[in-house]
Symmetry: C2
Subunit: 465 residues, 2 copies
Amino acid sequence: MAASTPIPPTIYLGTFVHSKSLSELEICDQGAIGVDSAGVIKFVERDVVRVEDVKAKHWEWKDAEVVRVEDGFFFPGFIDTHTHASQHANTGLFGKTTLLSWLSTYTFPMEASLESLTKALTIYTNFVSRTLSHGTTTCAYYGTIHRFSTNLLADICLERGQRALVGRVCMDTDLSPEYYRDTSVESAIEESAASIDYIRSIDPEGAIVRPIITPRFAPSCSASCLAALGALAQETAAHIQTHISENKPEIELVASLFPASTSYADVYDTAGLLTPRTILAHAVHLTPAEVQLVAARGAKISHCPASNTALTSGCAPVRDLLNAGIAVGLGTDVSGGFSPSILEECRQAIWVSRFVAMASSDAAKLSTEEALYLATRGGAAVVGLESKVGGFDVGMEFDAQMVRLGSVSEGGDQKGEFEAGPVDVFGFETTDEKVQKWVYSGDDRNTVAVWVRGRLVHRTGRYVK
Amino acid sequence: MAASTPIPPTIYLGTFVHSKSLSELEICDQGAIGVDSAGVIKFVERDVVRVEDVKAKHWEWKDAEVVRVEDGFFFPGFIDTHTHASQHANTGLFGKTTLLSWLSTYTFPMEASLESLTKALTIYTNFVSRTLSHGTTTCAYYGTIHRFSTNLLADICLERGQRALVGRVCMDTDLSPEYYRDTSVESAIEESAASIDYIRSIDPEGAIVRPIITPRFAPSCSASCLAALGALAQETAAHIQTHISENKPEIELVASLFPASTSYADVYDTAGLLTPRTILAHAVHLTPAEVQLVAARGAKISHCPASNTALTSGCAPVRDLLNAGIAVGLGTDVSGGFSPSILEECRQAIWVSRFVAMASSDAAKLSTEEALYLATRGGAAVVGLESKVGGFDVGMEFDAQMVRLGSVSEGGDQKGEFEAGPVDVFGFETTDEKVQKWVYSGDDRNTVAVWVRGRLVHRTGRYVK
C-alpha cells in the first residue's frame, strides 16, 4: 500500500453508486469501472452480465485485475473540506464551553504542544489513519503554527496516499496566548511561505498534497497579517482556508476589531482573501449581503454541522447558500466536531437541515441524496478538484470506497459480535434502501477498502476482492 | 450465558462510574463492587488498594470471583424506555416521510409480516442481540398485534437474560390498514390479556420480563378500546405504554377524533391510562396544562430525540418536563429512531437540547452528566425499577456494562483496523475526560461485556476478566 507501489490496471465490478446531481443518485447494480495504471477512469459500463463481456469490448484490458464487490457497493471517496488534525486528541472534549472559551480551555494548549515532532507524529499518523478508515480520500487540514509539524503532516498524507490540503496556521493577535502565536507579521508570512515551498517540493504537481494558506480566523489575525496573507495567496496561487461567522459573540468581536469593515465577509474581502480558491468554514450566520459577496467572489463554504451543534453555534442555512449558487461541502471540524467521519457528518447535515425546517419551511430539509452529494461532488468543488474526483465519470481519477453491509441469517444473529458493523440487511432491501441504511446507521466498519487515484490506501479484514 | 447458569459471587474491581444525581456523576477510580449469587450488590468499596484488603474486610467473599476492568470502567446498564422491536428491519428507512406517511409506507407492512413466527424469530433475536451489544440491560418493547409473536419476543428476552417490558400492540380504528388491526374491542382485550397471562406464566415474579399494555396511540384506538385497556390495566396492575404529542398533524388528528377531550393527554386520562405505571413516548408538544396533568398523575415520559429529529417531529423541551417533576428516560424508538444505541440517544438528547437552547435559553441545555442520568436512573424510574437498577448502590441488582477504550501507541496507529473501536485515548486524559470521549464518540465496540442481575449476557472478543 506504499505510495510508490505500481498500480495494475483494474476493473471494479459490481454495484456502484454516485451522485448524478445535487438531488439524484445513480445506482448501477451491474457496473464495471476500468481504472488504468495512472488511477484514471477509462471506461464505465452498465448492465454488465459477465466480466468477459467487458474484457471483450475493451480488449486491451484482458489482463486487468478484477475487484468485485459482492454484497455492497462502490461509492466515491468522501471529501472532508475542513478539519483540524492538530485537535484530534481532544475529540469528544467540550465540557460546557462554546467557541471562544473552548479555544482557550482545550484547543490552544493542545495545538501548542504539537511543536514536538514526536507528539505530532503520533497524533497526525493516527488521525490520517482514522480519516482514511472512514472513507475520506481528500481532506483539508489545519495543522498548527509550527512549520515543521505541519510539513510532517503533509509528509504523512503523501506517504499514506491521502489527498490533502495542508495548512500552517497563522495568528498574530493577543486573542491567542503568548505561548502560541506568530510573533510578527513578517515571521508569520515567512513561516507560511516556507511551508508552502516545502509541500510543493515533496509533490511538485500537487497530485496528492497541496499547501493551503490558513489564517485561523479574523479575530486572531491583525489586518496587516490578513493583507499580507492575501498578497501571499495571489503570489503563490495557493488555496486559502479560514473560518467565518461561526457564532454570534465571535461576529460581535470581529465587528469591534475591524470597525472599518462593513461585515465579517468584508474583512476577508478587503484583505484579498475572498477568492475562488477560498474555503470558508461554518458560515452559520452570514447576512444576505455577505452571502451575495461570497457568491460573487466564487468562494466556497465548508458546512460543519456536528461542530455547530456541539458548540451550540447555530444552524447554517445550507439551502439558502446552495440557492445563492455557492459551492458547499461538508467538514468534520474535529475537535469542535466530535467525529472524523463524513458519513456521520452527512447525518448531522440532515438533522441540522430539519431543525432549520422546523423553524422556517420544509424546503430547508436536505435529502439523503443531497447530503451524499455535499460529501462527494460538493466537497470536490470546494477544494477545487471537481473535474478529478467526487464521482465515477470517465476521465476522473478513481477515489473510492468499498462499502459492505452485514447480512442477517435466518434465526437472527445470536453471537452478538457483529463484526460486519452496525447495518443489518435482511434480504428484502433494494440497493437504494441499502444505501439509506448505510447512511443512517453505517460506520467505519462498513468501509472495508479505500482507494485514492486507483491506489489501495486502506483496507480492513472484511475486504475481499 | 444461559439464563439458568448459576452465578458465582463476584467482586467487580476497578474504576466505576454512575450517576449520583441528575447533574452529578460519581467517578470512583479504585472501586470494588460485591455482587452475590442472586445478582444483588452487597457492598461497594472505594479507595481500594488491593483486592486482598476487600476480601479481608468481607471475609465471606474470600472465594469470590474477581472481574477487573483494566483500561476502562464499569457503567450501569442502559435503559431503553421506548422502542419497537418489530420495526428493527426497517432501521434507517425513512424516505421523505413524516410520522403519518411513514406509518403507512414503512411501518404497517413490516409489522403485519411478523405474524410469521419464523420471521419474528429472526428479527427479534437479532434485535435483542443488538440492544444487548449496545449495553441495554432493560428495554420497553413494542411488539405487534400478534399475540404469539409478541410472546416469542418475551421468550427471547427471558432466554437471553435481558430485562424487558413486552407489549402486544392494540389498535382497532381504520387509521391502521384492514390487513393489520384488531377486529373488535373484545378481541383486542382478549388477545392482550392472553399475552399478559403468558408473559406472567414464564416469569411469575417479573424478575426479567413483564407484560405492558400497549395502545399504539390515540388515533389508532377507539375511545371504547382505550377505556377497556384502562380497565385491563387496573385489573392486572400491568404497566402501560403509548405515544403522545409526537408531531403537529397527529395532535390535530387527535383533536378531531376526540372532540370531547380537552387535550391529547386528557384522552388518555379519561380512559384511565394516565397512571404512575404509564410510559408516554415523545411528549414533544405538550401544553403547560398537559405537563401539569401528566405530572399530577405520576405518568412518565420517554424522550426519543433521534426519532423526533429524523421524522422532523420537533424538539421535546426536556428541561421543562424535568422541572415539572416528571420522570424522564431515553428511548431509541427504532425505527423512527435510526439506532438501537442509548449511547447515541444520549448524544441526540444533548444535541436536541442545544437546539431548544438556541431558540430559547441556555438553561435548556442538557449536560453530559444529565444525559447519562436519563439513560440510567431516569430510565429506571420510567420503567418502575428505580429501586433495583440504574446505579451501583448497595441493595440494587447488578445491571452493568464494562466499557473499554482504545489506546494510541507512540507513533500512532498505522494499521487502520481500530478493533478497539472509535475512541482514541492518548494517555493524558482524566477518567472524567475518558467518559466524555466515550459519550461523544463511543459505540458498541466499547461495550465489551454486559451483565443483568449479575449474569453475563453479552461479551465481545475484547472482554477479559
